[in-house]
C-alpha cells in the first residue's frame, strides 16, 4: 500500500492558461482579467421557497432576488437566473467549501451544486467595455436597462454565457462553461482589440 504522505497534492490550472495575451498597444480601452470566484447553483426544494428565503435572510442577511437581479450579503452575491434558481457567488475558496457551507445553512430547503469549476469567469473593465461587448453579447447593456445589480444568461459568439454588471460602472463579469473559456476569451480579445486591450491572467490560479 502506498504511503499517503507521498501522495502528490494536485495543482490547479486556469481554464485560460493557454491564452496568449495581446501585445499592449496605445490606450487600454478594455482591461480583461480572469477571476476565480466560488459559484454554487441554488434552487428551492419543491414547496420550500419560503423556507429557503427565510433561511437565507436569517443566515446571510440577504433577500433572494427575482430572475435578472442580484442581491448581496456581506460575502455572498445571489444572482437570480431562473424561476426559483440562483447562482451564489463568493470570493475564491477551495472547491466545495461554498457548497458545504450553504448546505449547512440551508439544509433541507435547497438543492445545491458546486459550479466553481464548471465555469471560467472573465472581468471586463474600461471605457470601451460596452462597445466591446456590443460585438458579442446580444443584450441591451445601457445603464437604464442593465444597470447595477443586473444579471442575465444569454448567448455570445455561439457560446452560452452569464453576464452581470459589477457595481454601477463600466465593469462586467462573464461566466462561460470552462471548456469554452479559451475560445470565448479569444473572441473577446479580438473584439476589444480596436480599443486597446490588456489581459491579466489569474496568476495564482484558482484556489487549491
Amino acid at each position: 500500500m502506498a504511503n499517503p504522505q507521498s501522495a502528490p497534492s494536485l495543482a490547479a490550472v486556469s481554464a485560460v492558461a493557454a491564452l496568449t495575451a495581446p501585445a499592449p498597444h496605445g490606450n487600454i480601452g478594455v482591461a480583461i482579467s480572469e477571476i476565480v470566484p466560488s459559484i454554487v447553483s441554488l434552487a428551492a426544494r419543491a414547496g420550500h421557497q419560503a423556507d429557503l428565503a427565510a433561511a437565507i435572510a436569517a443566515s446571510a442577511g440577504a433577500t433572494l432576488p427575482p430572475p435578472g437581479h442580484i442581491s448581496h450579503s456581506a460575502d455572498l452575491s445571489f444572482l437570480g437566473v431562473a424561476p426559483g434558481r440562483w447562482f451564489v457567488i463568493a470570493p475564491p475558496a477551495p472547491p466545495a467549501l461554498l457548497e458545504f457551507t450553504l448546505r449547512q445553512a440551508l439544509g433541507a430547503y435547497a438543492t445545491l451544486t458546486d459550479q466553481t469549476d464548471g465555469r471560467a469567469v472573465l472581468r471586463i473593465n474600461g471605457p470601451a467595455a460596452v462597445a466591446t461587448l456590443a460585438k458579442l453579447v446580444p443584450l441591451d447593456l445601457h445603464p437604464s436597462v442593465f444597470g447595477a445589480g443586473r444579471v442575465a444568461q444569454t448567448i455570445a459568439s455561439h457560446i452560452n454565457i452569464m453576464i452581470w454588471r459589477n457595481g454601477a460602472g463600466q465593469s462586467f463579469d462573464i461566466a462561460v462553461f470552462r471548456g469554452f473559456a479559451l475560445s470565448f476569451a479569444e473572441s473577446l480579445i479580438a473584439s476589444a482589440a480596436e480599443f486597446g486591450v490588456s489581459f491579466t491572467p489569474n496568476l495564482e490560479g484558482p484556489a487549491p
Binding site: 430572475p67 435578472g68 431562473a82 446580444p138 442575465a152 444568461q153 444569454t154 448567448i155 452560452n160
Partner: protein, 93 residues
C-alpha cells in the same frame, strides 16, 4: 423574431429551440394505441394561431408555451410550460 421570456425578458430567436405543438397532453400509459399515435405523430399545423413549446436553452432553461401566428409570426403571449401544464391538469380534472 424575439420571444419575451417571462423570466429573462425579450430575447432573440437564437437563444431558443423549438419543439412544436403545445396543445397536446401526454396520454396515460394505458391509453389506446391510436391515442398515442396521435400524440406522437399528428400535428395541428394551423394557418393562424399556434400554441407551441420553446426551450430557452441559452437563457433560463425554461420550457415555454408561446402563442404565435404561423402566418405573420406575431406573438400573442408567452408563459412557462410548467404553469401551462399545471393549468391543463387542473382543467381536465
Amino acid at each position: 423574431m424575439r420571444i419575451n421570456c417571462p423570466c429573462c425578458g425579450e430575447r432573440s430567436l437564437e437563444e431558443f429551440t423549438y419543439l412544436g405543438d403545445a396543445r397536446k397532453t401526454r396520454p396515460a400509459g394505458d391509453a389506446a394505441a391510436d391515442v398515442w399515435v396521435d400524440y406522437v405523430y399528428l400535428r395541428e399545423n394551423p394557418g393562424g394561431r399556434h400554441s407551441e413549446f420553446w426551450y430557452h436553452g441559452s437563457g433560463c432553461q425554461s420550457w415555454l408555451v408561446v402563442e404565435r401566428d404561423m402566418t405573420t409570426h406575431a406573438i400573442f403571449g408567452v408563459k412557462f410550460a410548467r404553469d401551462a401544464a399545471i393549468a391543463a391538469v387542473v382543467h381536465t380534472s
